[in-house]
């Protein structure tokens, strides 16, 4: 057996033994408390109706002996599945493996399905079906819809555009889908162009127009603020000159563009540092879950 394989096997066995030990101590079990919820119908007109149901709130380890607290099998199972998925994703660090691939597929599938269902109920049902057929929507899924609500036929336009978009799936006449697509691309470009011009272009230009030398109200020079403004303006100009390729980077332009490279390097360094910090935060987030929620350390 290779030395590295032996070491990793020992580590895995030790990890597994530790898990068994923690599980035998009663960790990795979820306890919940039943909380009654009282509510009233939200329709302002008509008779008010009272509704009662129970919801379950997860409790801390110290509260598990209390009389209204009970063991939750479904949440415990969920906790163990989440822990398994976390470890399965971590297993990629050792090497690509079937457990990782399976878990990755589950994550992608669940996320896509969840997004699809939520979008269906918030967009197609609430924004289209309920707007076009409010009476039917009230009877079927949305009892809170105002009984005086009238159908809004403007919503036929997005309905027709959506149907045209689905034409792409048809073997014949897929060109029809180009019309709604053209509309969506045009509308999106139009909306984005204005905002980018206003906020990113003009807004940033305005923010860059600043004095090299800043004086206080008593006429004295504010050194730090002046230095900061100067570095800022020089940085912006030198970076812009670096990206200005219509002129040969020779002579003075060469030195300014090199200064631009230095500014860019500092920016990329800061971006990288922030990214590293983000990744470590994600790792510590998962470890907090494993240690606290699962293993109860």
């Amino acid at each position: 057996m290779k030395q590295s394989t032996l070491i990793w096997t020992i580590l895995m066995v030790a990890g597994g033994a530790f898990l068994l030990f923690q599980a035998s101590k009663g960790n990795g079990r979820v306890y919940v408390r039943e909380i009654p919820v009282d509510a009233q119908s939200s329709q302002p007109e008509g008779e008010k109706q009272d509704y009662h149901w129970n919801r379950y709130q997860q409790v801390t380890e110290s509260e598990k002996g209390e009389p209204d607290v009970r063991f939750s099998f479904s949440r415990t199972l969920g906790l163990w599945v989440a822990a398994f998925c976390t470890l399965a994703i971590f297993s990629f660090l050792y090497g690509d493996n079937p457990i990782y691939k399976f878990t990755e597929s589950v994550f992608v599938g669940v996320s896509a399905a969840y997004a699809m269902i939520v979008s269906f109920w918030t967009e197609i049902m609430t924004n289209l079906y309920a707007k076009l057929l409010p009476d039917l929507a009230r009877i079927t899924f949305f009892p809170d819809i105002d009984s005086t609500a009238e159908p809004d036929y403007l919503y036929l336009i997005p309905l027709v555009l959506s149907i045209l978009l689905l034409w792409r799936l048809s073997p014949k006449g897929s060109w029809i889908a180009r019309w709604p697509l053209a509309f969506f691309i045009g509308a999106t470009a139009g909306i984005r162009l204005i905002s980018y011009l206003e906020t990113d272009f003009i807004g940033q230009l305005q923010s860059t127009v600043m004095p090299f030398l800043v004086f206080a109200s008593d006429g004295s020079l504010l050194w730090i603020k002046s230095l900061r403004n100067t570095i800022f303006i020089v940085g912006v100009l030198s970076c812009m000159i670096y990206f200005f390729f219509s002129v040969e980077h020779e002579g003075i332009i060469k030195y300014i563009s090199r200064l631009g490279i230095w500014f860019l390097m500092v920016t990329f360094g800061a971006s990288f540092a922030y990214t590293v910090m983000g990744r470590i935060a994600l790792l510590s987030g998962r470890l907090v879950f494993l240690f606290n929620d699962w293993l109860g350390i």
């Binding site: 967009e123 807004g203 923010s207 800061a270 910090m277 983000g278 935060a281 790792l283």
Partner: protein, 287 residues
């Protein structure tokens, strides 16, 4: 030794990183934080509002990034709760619904006298709407064109907080916590900047450099990555010391311990890598 390091299996580095993050977490190591001016700007934006002001909390992230962003969202919720603000929760991410619930749980469990049983009068959950920046454009001009109901399907005209709210230009502050698209940048582009809505954001480290140019003209302040969250928690504890005894209010501070150790490890590895590189160059292994 250098020869051994040259051919070091990267899995040992992963293991080192695991230990560097895990040990301070288990030991609960924290380090003192001093809030930066940028974080203090966020703190002041929430704190200087009169008690009971209207705040939109747009939580645009999912469980994948909650390790980095949940401490920020929780800190925003606690700070707003201390100030007894009215909170409008919304999200542009489908998975953001469960993230909103975490903040609502904080309001109900830690501040029951202000928020328990006050749904609709002290806080409202508008839930998720598909449409990315299109939703932002609508809610800043006409809220009810995009959101006719809240997350429970209740008509907004029947909820006291939203009954007279035409659009979110009427609110006093917009707090956004975001992990990407659509998120902070879209809120600035389509919401805060064109309509001058006072906005503070909390974002991931990856997003932070793209958001920095918007400060201070288009954004009041920003919490960048877990460091920003920890500094914000410290800023809140400094002014409201009652939170000192709440371990949940120090989530970000606790996660800065592993950050420090992991950063030291990373810097050491980068240094070591450079030493090996120059040694190899001296040996003539690099052209």
């Amino acid at each position: 030794m250098l020869n051994f390091l040259q051919h070091l299996d990267r899995r040992w580095i992963f293991l080192l990183m695991f230990i560097a993050v895990a040990v301070p977490l288990i030991m609960g190591t924290t380090f003192p934080e001093t809030p930066s001016p940028q974080v203090l700007a966020v703190f002041d934006a929430v704190d200087n509002l009169p008690d009971g002001s209207n705040v939109v909390m747009a939580l645009d992230y999912d469980p994948a990034s909650q390790g980095e962003l949940q401490p920020m969202a929780s800190a925003f919720a606690r700070h707003c709760a201390i100030k007894k603000h009215n909170i409008y929760f919304m999200t542009l991410w489908p998975q953001g619904i469960s993230m909103i619930q975490k903040s609502i749980d904080i309001l109900q469990e830690e501040y029951p006298e202000t928020y328990k049983g006050k749904y609709g009068t002290k806080y409202v959950n508008l839930g998720f709407r598909a449409g990315n920046e299109g939703v932002i454009k609508l809610v800043v001009e006409d809220l009810k064109k995009s959101y006719s109901t809240d997350i429970h399907g209740t008509n907004l005209d029947n909820i006291p907080l939203t009954k007279n709210l035409k659009n979110i230009q009427q609110v006093d502050l917009l707090c956004n916590v975001s992990a990407g698209y659509p998120g902070s940048q879209e809120w600035v582009l389509y919401g805060s900047s064109p309509f001058d809505i006072p906005t503070v954001v909390g974002c991931t480290g990856v997003q932070a450099p793209t958001m920095l140019p918007y400060i201070p003209d288009q954004l009041t302040g920003m919490l960048a990555a877990i460091k920003g969250a920890a500094e914000y928690e410290q800023a809140i504890i400094n002014v409201y010391p009652q939170l000192k005894n709440n371990p949940n209010a120090k989530e970000g501070l606790i996660r800065m311990g592993p950050q420090l150790v992991a950063h030291i490890l990373l810097i050491s590895l980068i240094f070591l890598g450079n030493v090996i590189y120059f040694w190899e160059r001296k040996q003539g292994l690099h052209q």
